[in-house]
Structure formats: structure tokens, C-alpha cells
């Protein structure tokens, strides 16, 4: 495969780094991506097609490089590179292999779990929130530029070269199915920005969890050729949510669109409510769109409420704090609610209900009333539910933090749980994690 740059081509970045083109990794809508050798090892070089190598694009890339964004969730433009013939691009890190494209998920070609998907959603929300809170609009949120690790849910946002400071009118229009209706229609005075990003983000979350587009119901099936005019109608002129409670005329077809019926049935009410709000009122009034903080709070609560089906072992999302967990999406058995850890953070107090399945975890963010970021990795593990090594069936909470906890039994007696020690699970056991407090409840 040959591209615009030949192997062996030597280029120099703005900061003086020498770059040697090694091979072509892939091509996208705006340019090609090469693996290049630098003194820092292998990196990636995005090189724009001549038609896309415009002064406006150069200005965006230079601004992004200059802004810098040291955040491991983004493959950010690191350095500007130009040749002597008017071509240019930028240097970035290479995407590690563990991150997979969403098309593989949508085709069900990889193994993942509801917990990993919920984490991927939460991390995606927080990644865009990190941009938006700095006044940067991404403007091209779609399945093509986010990658995820199917085991951990970690996400990596790529193709950040359309992100601009809010209010900058530099135009790319984006893929229609992810665009806010007012942009699809081309309403006067409307430009892509953080408010329209919120629509795109909700579409992406819906696709991650439901494996379907939120506006593709019977109306889409009635279209023979899904061309621009048809898409403009579906996504812009007459958008209608497939689960709109007031208007069922775009409801999914039970045969042709069975996937979304199955995934929606497996979703808890609080998530459905956010999607419904976003894709009913939010379609027509951008100010009512679900904000990142609402997604974040709901997703993390649902994540704490995932239970394994006692019969088949599949993970099920349940409604946080609900008394009735419903039935398993896979085998149909009635789900059984396990005991829970009710955790209260220091002021401003936030309460978390963590259902205690066989490998439940308490993470640092559970103890923080306003965590800047959620992280379910081992580096932030505080407590881990573990089985007694000699007494199968007996479980306890292992202290994986660096400081001791104080436990208070139901009879008022206290005990100290040092790092590495495990306290047996008992109903009414109270734990002081050093600020945050928790109590074990059987229901």
C-alpha cells in the first residue's frame, strides 16, 4: 500500500525533531496516518490530503499543538510537521493494540461485558467533559474517533484535529447521524459547539449501550435508499426517538430491529430516562440536553448496581437502590439482590450504593464527594471483596489502601483493619475509610 509519503522520507517537526517515515498505517477522510521513527521511538504522523491541507486546518493544528493537553485519554497533536511543498501534518502517539474500534463492538466481533461498556461510557463522558470544561468543542464525535479496551473499558479519543475553542467558526460539518438536528437542518446562526457535542455524545452512548441508532425506527425501514435527503429528514427535519413515549410512529420493528428492543429491555430506568429526555425535549431544545455530569452520575450509579445472574453468571444492569432487580436478560431467571455497601462521602455528602458481588471493588473516587475523574483501575483500588482462602463461601472486604480503617460491629465494638487485612462481611458492619463512612446492609 502506497500513500502520499514514501518510506524513508525525512521531515523535521517545528520543535526540531527529526522524523523518518516508516510505513502507512491507514487513511481517513482528511488524510493518511504513517508510522514514523523519531529519536523517541515509533510515533504516528497524520498527513493531510492536499485538498484538506488548508490554512484554516493548519491554524487549528498549530493551536492544538500550542495548547498542549497532557491527558492519557487523548491522542493529542504533539508537534507540527511540514514539508517544503506545502504539505503538513502533526505528530502523535501510536494507538496501543488493546484499544479496539467501535465497529468491532457493533458487529459483536469482540468479547466485552456490561461493566466494561458502562465504564467505557463513563470514561467517554469524562473525556469530552475534560475538553468542554476547558472551552474546547470537539465537533466531530462519532464512532470513528473513539477506541476502547473491551476488558477494562478504558477509552482513547483519536482524531482531535477538529477540536476548536468554543465560538471558533472554522467549519467541518461532521457525520450526519451524529449531528444535532439544528446542524443537520442548517438552522441560521447555529454553529457546532459544546451544546451540539452533547447531542453527538448521547448518540454515541446510545450506540455503545443499545447497539443501534436512537432515531432509526420504522421510519428508517420505510426508506428505500438511505441517501442524504433521507438522512436529513431522519436526523434533522423530523427526528423522532424510537422510544418516544408520546409518539410510537417510529417504534422499532420487532423483527428487523430486534437488537435495540433487547438492549433497551436490559437497561435500567434511570438510564432510559436520560436517553428519553435527550431524544425528546433535547432534540428540539438544545438547552435541555443531558449534560455530562448527569450522564456521569447515572452511569456510575448503574455501574455500582450491576449484578451477576446467580443461574447463568451473566452481568445485568439493575436500577440503583431499587428493591426489585428484575430478570436476567440472558436466561430470564429472577435476579437476586446481593448485600450492599452504603457509602457516604465527606461533605458535601454523596451516597453510593455498591452491590456486593463476588469481586466488588471500592475505588478512590467512591470516597471523594466530587471526584475529578472516575478510575476503576488497580491503581486507585481501596477495597476488594475477597473469599476466605480456607473457608469457601465466606467473604470479606480486603483493605487495599495505604491506611488503616476502623470497623464498628453491630454490638458497638471496634476493630482496626490494616492495609492487607480483610474484615469479614457482616450485616450492620460500619467502616470508616478515613473520612468516608460505609455500612454493610443485607438488602
Amino acid at each position: 500500500m502506497s500513500g502520499m509519503l514514501d518510506s524513508g522520507t525525512l521531515l523535521t517537526t517545528d520543535s526540531g525533531l527529526r522524523v523518518e517515515v516508516f510505513d502507512l498505517l491507514g487513511a481517513g477522510g482528511q488524510g493518511e496516518v504513517y508510522r514514523v521513527r523519531t529519536s523517541a521511538g515509533y510515533q504516528a504522523l497524520k498527513w493531510y490530503y492536499p485538498a484538506c491541507a488548508t490554512p484554516a486546518q493548519e491554524a487549528i493544528v498549530r493551536q492544538l499543538v500550542g495548547r498542549g493537553f497532557a491527558d492519557d485519554r487523548f491522542l493529542w497533536p504533539l508537534d507540527f510537521v511540514a514539508d517544503a511543498r506545502g504539505g503538513f501534518g502533526y505528530l502523535m502517539d501510536i494507538r496501543p493494540d488493546r484499544f479496539k474500534g467501535l465497529p468491532m463492538l457493533f458487529r459483536r466481533q469482540l468479547r466485552t461485558s456490561p461493566r466494561a461498556l458502562l465504564k467505557a461510557c463513563l470514561y467517554t463522558v469524562e473525556a469530552y467533559q475534560a475538553l468542554h470544561s476547558r472551552g474546547i468543542a470537539y465537533r466531530d464525535i462519532s464512532w470513528g474517533n473513539i477506541f476502547f479496551d473491551p476488558d477494562t473499558g478504558d477509552v482513547l479519543v483519536c482524531d482531535n484535529d477538529n477540536a476548536v475553542v468554543e465560538g471558533d467558526s472554522t467549519g467541518i460539518s461532521g457525520t450526519m447521524e451524529f449531528m444535532a438536528p439544528e446542524l443537520v437542518r442548517g438552522d441560521p446562526g447555529v454553529a457546532p459547539g459544546t451544546q451540539s457535542d452533547l447531542h453527538s455524545l448521547s448518540v454515541l452512548l446510545f450506540m455503545l449501550l443499545m447497539n443501534h441508532h436512537p432515531l432509526k425506527g420504522r421510519r428508517e425501514l420505510a426508506i428505500h435508499c438511505l441517501d442524504e435527503a433521507a438522512e436529513r429528514k431522519l436526523y434533522g427535519k423530523q427526528p423522532l426517538f424510537v422510544f418516544d413515549p408520546q409518539d410510537q410512529s417510529n417504534a422499532p420493528d420487532p423483527t428487523e430491529q430486534a437488537t435495540v428492543l433487547a438492549t433497551w429491555a436490559a437497561a435500567p430506568d434511570s438510564l432510559r430516562a436520560l436517553f428519553t429526555k435527550n431524544f425528546t425535549a433535547g432534540l428540539h431544545d438544545p438547552t435541555t440536553r443531558v449534560r455530562e455530569s448527569q450522564w456521569r452520575d447515572t452511569l456510575r450509579a448503574v455501574l455500582d448496581a450491576v449484578v451477576e445472574c446467580a443461574r447463568c453468571g451473566k452481568q445485568n444492569m439493575t436500577e440503583p437502590r431499587a428493591a426489585d432487580p428484575g430478570t436476567c436478560w440472558s436466561c430470564g431467571s429472577t435476579l437476586v439482590l446481593p448485600p450492599r455497601l452504603v457509602l457516604t462521602t465527606p461533605p458535601p455528602r454523596t451516597e453510593h450504593h455498591i452491590l456486593l458481588h463476588r469481586s466488588s471493588r471500592v475505588q478512590a473516587h467512591h470516597l471523594d464527594p466530587e471526584p475529578a475523574r472516575h478510575d476503576y483501575g488497580d491503581g486507585t483500588l481501596v477495597a476488594l471483596l475477597t473469599e476466605h482462602p480456607q473457608k469457601p463461601g465466606r467473604f470479606g472486604l480486603a483493605n487495599r489502601s495505604a491506611s488503616p480503617w476502623t470497623g464498628t460491629r453491630a454490638d458497638g465494638s471496634t476493630q482496626r483493619i490494616d492495609p492487607g487485612q480483610t474484615v469479614p462481611l457482616r450485616s450492620g458492619l460500619e467502616l470508616d475509610f478515613g473520612g468516608a463512612r460505609a455500612v454493610v446492609r443485607s438488602k
Binding site: C52, R107, H224, E228, T263, A265, K314
Partner: protein, 228 residues
């Protein structure tokens, strides 16, 4: 049994038809270059199809010379598509080829639901039959009217007016392929950009191939060391 609810995402087919000129004027290096260019483009077509789960890319090839014939009669999913070299013979009966394509663009044999089909014409010469009637037959079918069209002119003697008329849009230009490198780039671009245009609509473009600059093919410095 899957660990997550729901089956694969629903998709629609994209029917992609190569129309390849195999007249005598293509004899020698040209046909070899064409075979090579398409062979090279297949992995990229797979990659662009893989990146778009809402589309299923189905390929067919028609060659035209003294007669027009299907090189692949039935649509082949891109994952299973293998290229067999085409050979040259005889005249340039583009009209017959277009008539045969038009028959495939009726419903049925086209399904009730699909994305826009893609018609990619590659030619080096002047048609020797009534190609205008053939083109009208394509334009008379609902899917033919909607089709994304790309045209590649091989060599300086190609009849660009015919290709321009095939495109049916003054904003679109046939791609010139005057060297093996240009041909490979043009075929690669046609195979990927046209599929994207058929399956990923971009707002603000009435004809995605015309106005969406992002799909414009790379302009090459033609500095390869071919001997002419």
C-alpha cells in the same frame, strides 16, 4: 452466548459495481496496471467496510469489449472478494455494459432497502456502440439515478466527454490516470471515498464527492522514474 445483550447492529448493503474497459486499446501495460491497481485496492475496500458497521459492502465487476459480461455475476461480500485478472479483446461496447447494469438496478434484483449503489467506470477510449441509450437506461432506474458515480480516464486519449456525461454532474471531474502510480491512487480513492460517500452522509454537501473536499483524491507529484 454473548456476554452482552443484543445482536449485531443492523446494516444496509452498498452495491459497488466496477465497469472496466477491456478493449484492445487496453492491451499490454495498461491492463496489467489496472489488474494490479484493483488488487491493491481490495484490502483498503475491506478496511473502509470494516470501519462502517452500518453498511455491508457487496462487489461486482463487469467488463466490456466486443461484448459486455459480468466478471462477478453475483454480488460478493468484500470479505470474500478475490480478484481474477481481466483480459483484453475487441471493441468498446460501453452501451451494452450500461444496459446490463441498468437491469441490475431495478427492484428486484435490488433489495427493498439499501444505501446508494456505487458505479465506478474505468475506461481508456471511445465507446464504439450506442452508449447514450445505455446511460439513459441507467438513469431511468431509481437506484441508477441515486448511484454515487466515479470515473477514471486511463491515458491521454480517453474520451473525457463520455466519462463526464456518465458522471452526470458538472461539479464532478473524471480522475486522470496517466501513470501507474496515478492509476493506483485513483482506483484506491474511488474504492474508498465512494463507499464512504454512499454510506456516511455528511451534512452540507449536496453531492458528497463534489463538495466534500475531505474526499478529494491526493494530488501526486508525478516524480516516479517511469520510462515513457
Amino acid at each position: 452466548m454473548s456476554d452482552i445483550p443484543g445482536g449485531p447492529m443492523a446494516n444496509r448493503p452498498v452495491h459497488f459495481i466496477w465497469l472496466l474497459d477491456c478493449s484492445y486499446s487496453m492491451q499490454g501495460e495498461k491492463i496489467g496496471q489496472l489488474n494490479y491497481a484493483i488488487r491493491e485496492a481490495v484490502p483498503e475496500m475491506r478496511s473502509v467496510a470494516q470501519d462502517n458497521p452500518a453498511a455491508q459492502l457487496l462487489l461486482r465487476t463487469m467488463t466490456f469489449s466486443t461484448t459486455a459480461r459480468w466478471h462477478h455475476q453475483d454480488p460478493v461480500p468484500v470479505e470474500n472478494f478475490t480478484w481474477q485478472d481481466v483480459q483484453v479483446d475487441g471493441m468498446t461496447n460501453l452501451g451494452e455494459a450500461l444496459q446490463m447494469v441498468a437491469r441490475e438496478l431495478d427492484t428486484p434484483p435490488m433489495p427493498q432497502r439499501a444505501l446508494k449503489p456505487v458505479l465506478a467506470l474505468v475506461s481508456d477510449g471511445v465507446p464504439t456502440d450506442d452508449w447514450k441509450t445505455g446511460l439513459r437506461a441507467v438513469d431511468a432506474t431509481p437506484w441508477g439515478r441515486k448511484a454515487v458515480r466515479v470515473a477514471i480516464a486511463i491515458g491521454a486519449d480517453a474520451d473525457r466527454t463520455v466519462l463526464q456525461e456518465f458522471l452526470g454532474n458538472p461539479e464532478l471531474q473524471p480522475l486522470d490516470a496517466n501513470s501507474p502510480k496515478q492509476l493506483a491512487a485513483a482506483i484506491r480513492w474511488a474504492s474508498t471515498a465512494a463507499v464512504k460517500a454512499a454510506s456516511q452522509m455528511v451534512a452540507g454537501a449536496t453531492d458528497p464527492l463534489a463538495k466534500q473536499q475531505a474526499y478529494a483524491p491526493p494530488v501526486l507529484d508525478d516524480d516516479d522514474d517511469d520510462v515513457w
